[in-house]
Structures are given as structure tokens and as C-alpha cells.
């Protein structure tokens, strides 16, 4: 009896302890979640504030409306989608989309090659790229600007210029997907080859269907980088509205002479910018997690 009693007590104690620790954890998580979400909530609320256009000291708008969103896309003389914002958005979207497609193709080809082929200097090449990747990209900014300028790909022609910059070195980001490819058994390739498939068919028909998560991951990261880029984009669009992306264009709204008129529009712009990324992530979320972790395990 004695023993049973004590064990009961212990049991109850553990339950209570569990409950307490769970409560604590939940409270901590809730606090973190609130802190994390607050800026987003703030931006969304501000974007619906229409009583004035500058920064104010309160969060909940006194008057709600869609005027800020309308102003982003509607120009009094040029009509719908005649605003600079619409142009910036289009620029960003084209840049991100083309980069996503090209970069994905490059990365997958690269990974497949390095994972499945054995050729002279393969190791050396990989090491070389590893070292090359350690130099910060910003170092090349000025020289890239000169080159692009001489090719006529700056200012109003910044979009193709930017695509070139983003895509150019993308082959070097093969690590994660190569890691994933390495986990796919080689015997599958061999079986396919025996059945008469060529190398390309092996990639398209065998490897890629198995590597869906990593493909999605590559597309996502390739899309996100140009979508949010500021530094390169600002340098290359250089004072020409027609060539700016959203981040650069909207940055101008925060300047001294404009912030009073454009602040709420800036918030609305921030929300609109987030929309495609959110949709993309919601649709592809489950693959994304698989992709990130999948590439890290070598089976």
C-alpha cells in the first residue's frame, strides 16, 4: 500500500509539473508570437488608416478605408495600373519570376551533374566554388554596375540587368539539392539506363519526380531573393523610376520630403508586396520543410 501511495503521489506530482511547465511554455510562446506578429499587425492596420497619411502615435485607425490601396494602383490621369508602384511591382515580379525559373534550371543541372557524374577535376571544381562562394557578393557591386552600364542594362533597363546579376552565379548554390540527389539510390539510375534511358531522361523522369521537395525549395529561394533585394536593385536602377523594383521605389517614400504624404501608402505597399510570397508559401509549405531538412541527411 505504502509503495502504491507514494507512486500515486509521484504520478500526480509529475502531472502537475507537466501542467505547469506546459503553461509556462505556452505563455512564453504566446508572448514571442505576439512580439513577432506585432509589426505585421501594425503595418496592416496602418495601411487601412485613411484619416491622414503621416505617422501617428496610435495603432488602431480612426477611419478605415481602402484609399491607400487604391492610390497604389490608380492614377488620376493614367487610370488603373498607371502608377509608379504598379510599374515597380511588375518589374519586381518579372525579375523574380524569370530568376526563379532560370536559377532553378541551373541549380538542378549543376546538382545532378555533380551528384551523378564522375569527371576529372570534379572535386577541385567543387572546392573552387566553395571558396568563391565565400567572397561577399557586395564586393563586386561597383564593377558589375560598370559592366551592366556599358551593356546598357542599367537605369530604365535595369530589369534584364538585374536578372543577369541574380542568375549569373546561381549555379554555385547547388549544395542543398546535390545533398538531396545523393540520397536517391544510384541503382535507380542504373536500372533506367539499362532500360535504355539517356542521362537527360534519367534526370527528368527518375530523379526530379523523387526530388520534388528540393525543386520547390529551390524555386522558392530563387524567387525570394530578387523579390526583396534592395542594395543591388538600387544601384542598378540608379535614379530611374522605370527601372526600380518595389523595395527601391518604396524606399523613396520614406524620404524627408515624402514621408508625410506617403507613409500609409508605404504600409499598404508593404502588405501588397507580401501577398504573392504568402500565397506561394502557403501552397508550398509542406514541401519547403521537407526540402530544407531532406537535403541535409545523407541516406
Amino acid at each position: 500500500m505504502m509503495t502504491k501511495d507514494t507512486s500515486m503521489k509521484k504520478h500526480m506530482g509529475m502531472r502537475a509539473a507537466n501542467a505547469i511547465s506546459n503553461t509556462v511554455i505556452h505563455i512564453v510562446l504566446a508572448v514571442i508570437a505576439v512580439i513577432w506578429l506585432l509589426p505585421f499587425v501594425f503595418i496592416v492596420l496602418q495601411s487601412f488608416r485613411v484619416e491622414n497619411t503621416w505617422q501617428v502615435g496610435y495603432v488602431i485607425p480612426k477611419q478605415w478605408g481602402f484609399a491607400n490601396y487604391k492610390n497604389l494602383l490608380y492614377d488620376a490621369t493614367k487610370g488603373w495600373f498607371g502608377t509608379p508602384f504598379a510599374k515597380w511591382y511588375l518589374n519586381t515580379f518579372i525579375t523574380a519570376l524569370v530568376t526563379a525559373v532560370l536559377q532553378t534550371v541551373f541549380v538542378l543541372c549543376m546538382s545532378y551533374t555533380l551528384s551523378r557524374f564522375r569527371f576529372k577535376m570534379r572535386k577541385a571544381l567543387m572546392q573552387f566554388m566553395l571558396i568563391l562562394g565565400m567572397f561577399p557578393g557586395m564586393l563586386t557591386m561597383i564593377i558589375l554596375y560598370r559592366v551592366l552600364k556599358d551593356l546598357g542594362l542599367t537605369q530604365e533597363n535595369a530589369v534584364p540587368g538585374l536578372i543577369l546579376v541574380y542568375v549569373a552565379s546561381s549555379g554555385m548554390g547547388y549544395y542543398v539539392s546535390k545533398g538531396f540527389f545523393d540520397t536517391i539510390p544510384k541503382s535507380l539510375d542504373e536500372a533506367a539506363r539499362i532500360d535504355g534511358a539517356n542521362r537527360a531522361q534519367v534526370l527528368w523522369k527518375i530523379i526530379l519526380p523523387l526530388a520534388k521537395p528540393i525543386v520547390i525549395y529551390t524555386v522558392l529561394t530563387a524567387f525570394m531573393a530578387p523579390w526583396g533585394d534592395f542594395v543591388f536593385a538600387r544601384y542598378i536602377s540608379f535614379g530611374s523610376q522605370a527601372g526600380m523594383n518595389v523595395a527601391v521605389g518604396m524606399w523613396n517614400w520614406l524620404q524627408l520630403d515624402q514621408i508625410g504624404q506617403k507613409y500609409t501608402m508605404f504600409c499598404a505597399g508593404g502588405v501588397v508586396v507580401a501577398i504573392p510570397v504568402v500565397i506561394l508559401f502557403l501552397c508550398l509549405q509542406r514541401y519547403y520543410v521537407e526540402g530544407v531538412t531532406g537535403g541535409a541527411v545523407k541516406g
Binding site: N52, W54, L151, Y235, G239, D257, I259
Partner: protein, 526 residues
């Protein structure tokens, strides 16, 4: 074989890329803008104009008006891009070649732009027009030596005080102390950008009579010297005044009039904030010159910078186009152009006729900036680094615990300024005496109260009388209690004695230093 072919192909491609580069001219040459006879200017020109976002549409319209009405037969095919005046120099200097042909910028960037060769010199005719039609200070702002490099666009780039009439009683607006008390009583903020902007910090120093005057060298490009008295007893008074505001719990370092919507009662800002401030406060908005502050029983009216927005023309390879561009810039900055801009966005004109216009005078913000003008220091040519060096004073003062801390803030500032001018080895190695009230014209230390001299600002020369022993080049009158140090190369890396040398008996002395031991002595004159 295959490999060689691949290498050859790669080389050909690289060369093809390089060839695209080869034919372009590298930098536009800077022609002295000749005043072309009008007939030769006729033609159509593609131009790029940079101006602030809120005047883009107006500027487009003005250029169309110019195209329709000018007597020279010039037609501009203009692209007007919004580039803020605050950002123009950075953008221009990034790539002058690709920058705007005509661009607007705030005056603080003038020196940088001249240095970068981004501004074309005005011809004699254009220069005379500018001199005749604009406020004299605004003409100085575009002058280097005897040459003009830009067109004044506004004369309202100064700051003053916006306040909330419902919080601040009319009779208190002249006193910093009362304003602080009012703000603390109402639990509303006094907003002035003292911690991040040298532009506003200077207000305190100008109030006590400090100056920072920078001299361009003959070449109009580099600075050769500075007369800066921020590090002086007056400067110390200024930072004491600043400290009062910085220590208030209801002080915030900002210059955005949007602060009125978030619990500010006072914002020190400029005319650009008028529309926003008026919309936020309505009838309660007041605009007044800067207040006075009190230190040790004396009051000092806070100064300000009086600055200008300017319009510049980029040097061109085509002299005809350059001349045509200058005509356009003249048109855009004329009385009519400035009044149109006042009507559209309430920018205060620099053109004297436009400034006298009734509707301009009726604007309270412009009235305040004009009233503050009596206490304002025209913003001359200032070394580009000054802004970054001086803005640190604010944070240093905020952290200072006592008077020594305040003095340290000024010392830091002074050393950074001194370091801007690279010295020759002889200057770096030379020893000098610096202390309370130095001056170069004969008196040393005796006339402590003389306002025209500044303490701890100049080094008195010393010469090597025997190896390792330095002595002042002449004997100086010294009062009891004056303090000094002997230092090398006008910096504090090598300075003796560790604590200031204090004169105990008044007299006429040479100051002598033995470098080896760091011993400083007074040698009585015969």
C-alpha cells in the same frame, strides 16, 4: 583540339563583351559654359531632370511652358525623375555620366558636388542674372571663389519651431526652459533632432556665437583650413543649454512634424513640414523663431542654419546643349518659376521679387523662417565630413555626466575636425602650446574675457632651442590661474603635462618642454 576550340570561343566572347565598352567616352569634359548667341541654340534636346517627387508634375508643366514660349527655338524632350534633394548628391556622385542633366539638391551637398565635378560653372551672363535676382546669401551659397556653380531654387531651407498652441502659452515661446516646463507639465514631447543631425545641433552653438567657417582652397575643390570655435567657453555654454533639453524626460530626438500626431507639443523643423503640421494641428498650429536658453544668468537666442535648395546643371560634352540647359535652369528658377512652386508646394522663394510677394509673406512658416533669419547663419561651404563629425556631439552630450563630460564631447569633436586636414611631417612633429585663451596676435592668456579669441583652439608655435628641448618662439604674458598643455602635431596623442599646467604667478614667460621627460616649465623672460 576540342579544348583549344572551347578556349578560343570563350576568349572571343569575352573580347566581344569588352568591345562594347571601348567606344564610349569616359567622362564628360567640363567646358566653361559660353553664353551662346541665342540663334544657335535652336534644336531639340533629350534631357533628364531630377527633382523632388512633389514637384515632378509641376516641373513637367514648366518645361512644356518653356518649350512653348522660349525665344531661342529650344525644344526639350524631358524625362523628369523624382530624386529627393537630400539624396541627389549621393546619386549623382555614384555615376555622374548617367545622372540628371538638371538636378535639384540641398545646399549641404554643394561642396561634394563641386568636388565630384558634377556641376557646370555658370557663364558670366547667367551668373549676373543669379546675382541680381536672388537673396545675397543664396548667391554666396552657390559661389566658389568668384565662380557660380548652381541656381538658387528656394531660400527656406532653415529650421524654426512649430508648436501646439493648445499646450504652449504664447508668452512662453521665447524660452527653452519654459517650453521644457510646459511640455513636462502637459506630458507632451519637445522634439528636436539633436542626436542624429549636425544641422540642428549647430543651433545651440550659433546661439552663443560659435562659428565653423570652412575655407576652400584656390582650386575650389579641396578645403584648406577651418575656423571653428565650437570647442571654447562659448561652446561649453552651448552644450550646457543643450544638456537641459536632452535631460528632459519629455525630449525626443526627431524633426518629423508627424510627431504632432504622436504626443509632441513642439517640433523643430522646416517649411517642408508645414502642410503636414497644419493638417495635424489645424488652428492650433503655431510657428515661431527658435527660443532662447539661459546659462549662468545669461540668455542666448538659439541660432539656425539658413540653407537653400539649389538647381544644378551637369557638365555636358555638347556645349550647345549645355547652353540650352542653362536657359532652362534660369527659367525654372526665375521669379515666375519660384512663385508657381510656392503656389503648388509652398516652397519659399530665393528670388527677391517673389519673396516680397504678398501671398508668400502671408504663410506663417515662411514668416517664421524669415524671422529666424536674423539669428541664422548662412550655410556656407562646409566639408562633407563635418556633418558626421558634428552629429556625434549630441549623443556625447546626452551621455555626459558632468562638465568634464561635456568638455570631452567638444574635445572629441575638435580632434576629429583637426584630423581632416592632413599635415606635413614637419607639422605633425612640431610642438605647440594650447590653453585657455590662445591667440596669435601678441597676447597670451591675459584677456580671458575677449570674445574674439577662443580657448583651446589654436596652437602657439614652439622651436627647438637645443636637441629635445622646445620653447615658445616668444615670451607671453600670462595671468595667474590660466591653464595650458604642450602638445605635438595639434593632436592629443602626445601632450604634456598629464593634467593641465596651471600658472601660479602672473608674469611674462617662455613655455619650455623637455621631450624626454615630458617636463613643462615656465622660463621667465629677461
Amino acid at each position: 583540339m576540342k579544348k583549344t576550340l572551347a578556349i578560343v570561343l570563350a576568349l572571343v566572347m569575352v573580347l566581344a563583351l569588352a568591345a562594347c565598352n571601348g567606344t564610349k567616352p569616359d567622362q564628360p569634359v567640363t567646358p566653361d559654359q559660353p553664353d551662346q548667341p541665342s540663334g544657335e541654340l535652336a534644336g531639340t534636346y533629350d534631357v533628364k531632370v531630377w527633382c523632388a517627387d512633389n514637384i515632378v508634375d509641376l516641373t513637367k508643366k514648366q518645361i512644356e511652358d518653356f518649350n512653348a514660349n522660349n525665344e531661342f527655338g529650344i525644344t526639350f524632350n524631358a524625362t523628369v525623375e523624382p530624386v529627393g534633394e537630400g539624396d541627389a548628391a549621393t546619386q549623382m556622385i555614384t555615376d555622374v555620366e548617367a545622372g540628371g542633366d538638371i538636378f535639384c539638391f540641398a545646399q549641404d551637398q554643394f561642396a561634394r558636388l563641386v568636388q565630384a565635378g558634377a556641376l557646370a560653372k555658370l557663364g558670366e551672363g547667367a551668373a549676373n542674372i543669379v546675382k541680381d535676382q536672388n537673396v545675397p546669401d543664396s548667391v554666396n551659397a552657390v559661389t566658389v571663389g568668384t565662380d557660380l556653380y548652381a541656381y538658387p531654387l528656394t531660400a527656406d531651407n532653415g529650421y524654426f519651431m512649430y508648436y501646439d498652441k493648445s499646450v504652449i502659452p504664447e508668452e512662453d515661446i521665447g524660452s527653452v526652459e519654459k517650453l521644457i516646463a510646459d511640455c513636462e507639465a502637459a506630458q507632451k514631447y519637445f522634439s528636436m533632432e539633436n542626436e542624429t543631425s549636425a544641422w540642428y545641433i549647430a543651433s545651440w552653438f550659433f546661439g552663443t556665437g560659435c562659428v565653423s567657417e570652412w575655407n576652400l582652397a584656390e582650386d575650389g575643390v579641396n578645403f584648406e583650413s577651418v575656423h571653428d570655435t565650437f570647442n571654447s567657453p562659448e561652446g561649453l555654454i552651448a552644450v550646457k543649454g543643450m544638456k537641459k533639453l536632452l535631460d528632459s524626460p519629455y525630449y525626443t530626438s526627431a524633426s518629423d512634424v508627424a510627431g504632432f500626431s504622436s504626443n509632441c507639443a513642439i517640433v523643430v523643423s522646416g517649411t517642408w513640414g508645414y502642410t503636414t503640421a497644419a493638417a495635424a494641428l489645424g488652428d492650433n498650429l503655431g510657428a515661431a523663431p527658435m527660443p532662447s536658453f539661459e546659462v549662468d544668468g545669461q540668455t542666448y537666442h538659439m541660432g539656425s542654419f539658413n540653407g537653400y535648395k539649389l538647381m544644378g546643371v551637369k557638365p555636358q560634352t555638347d556645349a550647345t546643349k549645355a547652353a540650352a540647359l542653362h536657359r532652362l535652369a534660369q527659367y525654372l528658377t526665375s521669379e515666375q518659376g519660384q512663385l508657381e512652386r510656392f503656389d503648388a508646394v509652398a516652397w519659399g522663394p530665393s528670388n527677391t521679387v517673389a519673396l516680397a510677394n504678398e501671398k508668400v509673406q502671408a504663410n506663417p512658416a515662411i514668416a517664421a523662417v524669415v524671422a529666424q533669419g536674423a539669428y541664422a547663419t548662412p550655410q556656407g561651404q562646409i566639408h562633407g565630413s563635418w556633418w558626421d563629425i558634428a552629429k556625434v556631439i549630441g549623443t556625447d552630450v546626452k551621455e555626459a555626466k558632468d562638465e568634464a563630460g561635456l568638455q570631452a564631447a567638444l574635445d572629441n569633436y575638435y580632434n576629429a575636425i583637426s584630423a581632416l586636414f592632413t599635415m606635413s611631417d614637419a607639422e605633425k612633429n612640431a610642438w605647440g602650446v594650447i590653453g585657455t585663451c590662445n591667440s596669435t596676435d601678441g597676447f597670451f592668456f591675459t584677456d580671458y574675457q575677449d570674445e574674439t579669441r577662443s580657448n583651446w583652439a589654436e596652437d602657439l608655435p614652439m622651436e627647438e632651442v637645443e636637441p629635445g628641448v622646445f620653447r615658445t618662439t616668444q615670451a607671453w604674458d600670462m595671468e595667474e590661474g590660466v591653464e595650458f598643455k604642450v602638445r605635438q602635431g595639434a593632436s592629443w596623442d602626445n601632450a604634456f603635462p598629464a593634467d593641465n599646467f596651471k600658472v601660479e604667478t602672473a608674469g611674462t614667460y617662455y613655455v619650455q618642454l623637455v621631450v624626454e621627460t615630458g617636463e613643462v616649465t615656465l622660463v621667465p623672460a629677461e
